[in-house]
Point group: C2
């Protein structure tokens, strides 16, 4: 009855230790779920279908809102370093943060499969609430649907995020310029390999733990040092390879990445070699790529390394006017290769 | 290759007549889906993970945003009068509209099941785009995930909506006062019975068609006539019974509903009797309940009846200080009954 993160199923919900269709019908059972599960975790907001947000004066001067959505179907629901609940918060606040926005509010839409254990749902909801608090954002509105057994996979979560973009902040891949320096905030591939290790029942010498984390505070720090940062992108599906290609195409420039400079944990590198994966294509959930004007690089790198979410930050490459729209990797032996967008399904249901 | 609503699968997508896992991997296949399906339907916005919205001056004076989310898992995907795509737009714009908000932007999150026909997806996306245009709202950001065969049901859609609440507009069930008059904008139960008829393979004498429709323009008209409307609610899951009970509880008042005054189509009434359903508990997707101060009722009713979405609008009851928190129905034979919130799963996956 007590889950690992301290969720204790409230008495009124114990009548149904598993989700049944009635929990999604809009009637009394759904109200019970909201009153005894969502409201204690997310606050009174969770009671209502919709929220009215009154924004403060800074919006009045500015009026720029960031708006982003993500559905989370990660399998398994719990993995080393996180779970679908915290991931659903981190994924969406990070999408807002890389636009330079301060997250203001999240919505949470649950699709539950009949038969899901109430304790599992409770544990995920408590984890979401904790992740939202840590990222400084409120979950202000929600929705619950239930589908029959065999038509879901435990639970899927959609989070949609709303943020405010301060004046003068406009990171956008189209603003990349030749000479810009490329940075990441730490080791790549941890999330993807953590998921793979559980899913495939693999044992590595060192435990690989997901990097799932909010980037909000790190990015605020970076923008404080250099409001002029040209572009930011979180390195989720498709990893660094996908984000770098997006940058190259958006600004019609070339990117050069020094592969030896890209931080990758030895255990992740070994696992990638074993599984035939390229760590540059593997998903992360707490990593970003930044394109910074050269004169600001030293300050931005120092600020990143002084922040808990950026201790292993590194310069990994630069922007060039050569080979527009193409990402070149300089390999360990000094040769060049094209780093392409991953083609198909490398690691399905990674987020 | 040409679907009923004119969707023609673009050549580059025909390599895969069905969704495969790679369409959700963040790589080239997902980019193709976005470029050849979502962008033609929703516009260039659909290319980006997140949107920056610049709001106009009226927000600056006011700063109230409405924010609401809904996931749609309706089964079947296509039904008389609509499909999951148009429903996903109507459901969310209606949630905004009943808060008095003007819809500004929607997000669209797709969870696709491996094996879903590309033509089906295309048809749904075209229908969503048309519904959004008709409701005067843009779909500005999206997300696509793919789950393995047997872990979904074709497709699920989350839409999250953002709206602006004009100054002086504040419909809220807490504002109900004894003496307020209750109105609906037309016949109840059509959506639920349309879904049931397809699902159960039932044939009724008259075809029952879903009422799925946007309420945005109707509500704007009503608020133009009477900005003081105390409360508005769309009558989705749980139907009129759920909304009326929500009103009664929010304001600690009683509601009296004259059951003979509630418009219900004869075919719907007959089908409800056959299936043992109460039409007051059945879901609608284009109907609302309004609580209007008595002095404004005549004007509001006339405005509703002059609007295409309110031709069959009717006064169905009133608010009383008697029996707080309870909804009383006056039956056809003049007796009273308690109209309760539906308990469990009447009609699963109705939206």
């Amino acid at each position: 009855m007590v889950t690992t993160n301290g969720f204790v199923c409230p008495l009124p919900l114990r009548r149904y230790p598993q989700i049944v269709m009635g929990h999604g019908s809009g009637g009394q059972m759904m109200q019970e779920l909201i009153a005894h599960l969502f409201v204690p975790a997310f606050g009174e907001h969770a009671l209502t279908d919709a929220a009215v947000l009154t924004l403060n004066g800074s919006l009045a001067e500015n009026g720029r809102l960031a708006f982003t959505t993500d559905s989370f179907v990660v399998n398994p629901l719990f993995f080393p370093g996180g779970d679908i609940g915290s991931l659903a918060v981190h994924g969406t606040v990070n999408d807002l943060a890389v636009m330079g926005a301060r997250p203001v509010a999240l919505s949470a839409g649950f699709i539950l499969e009949e038969g899901l254990s109430m304790d599992t749902l409770g544990q995920v909801v408590v984890s979401m609430a904790a992740a939202a608090r840590a990222a400084g954002v409120e979950i202000v509105t929600g929705d619950t649907k239930v589908v029959e057994r065999g038509h879901g996979d435990g639970l899927y979560i959609n989070t949609t995020g709303l943020g405010l973009v301060p004046s003068g902040i406009e990171p956008n891949p189209r603003r990349l310029r030749p000479g810009d320096v490329l940075l990441v905030n730490g080791t790549l591939g941890d999330h993807g390999l953590a998921i793979m290790s559980v899913r495939a029942g693999l044992q590595f010498e060192t435990d690989i733990v997901s990097d799932s984390a909010p980037l909000v505070s790190l990015i605020e720090t970076m923008l404080d040092v250099c409001p002029e940062i040209h572009a930011l992108r979180d390195l989720t599906r498709g990893g660094l390879a996908a984000a770098a290609n997006e940058f190259a195409q958006a600004a019609q420039v070339g990117l050069v990445i020094e592969e030896l400079a890209v931080p990758v944990q030895p255990a992740v590198m070994a696992a990638c070699e074993m599984l035939g994966l390229d760590p540059l294509q593997v998903a992360n959930e707490g990593k970003l790529l930044a394109a910074v004007p050269p004169e600001a690089v030293a300050d931005v790198l120092a600020a990143m390394q002084a922040h808990p979410a950026g201790r292993q930050a590194a310069i990994i490459g630069r922007v060039t006017s050569n080979h527009p729209c193409t990402v070149a990797g300089i390999t360990a032996i000094g040769s060049r290769r094209v780093i392409d967008v991953p083609a198909g399904a490398l690691l399905p249901r990674i987020c």
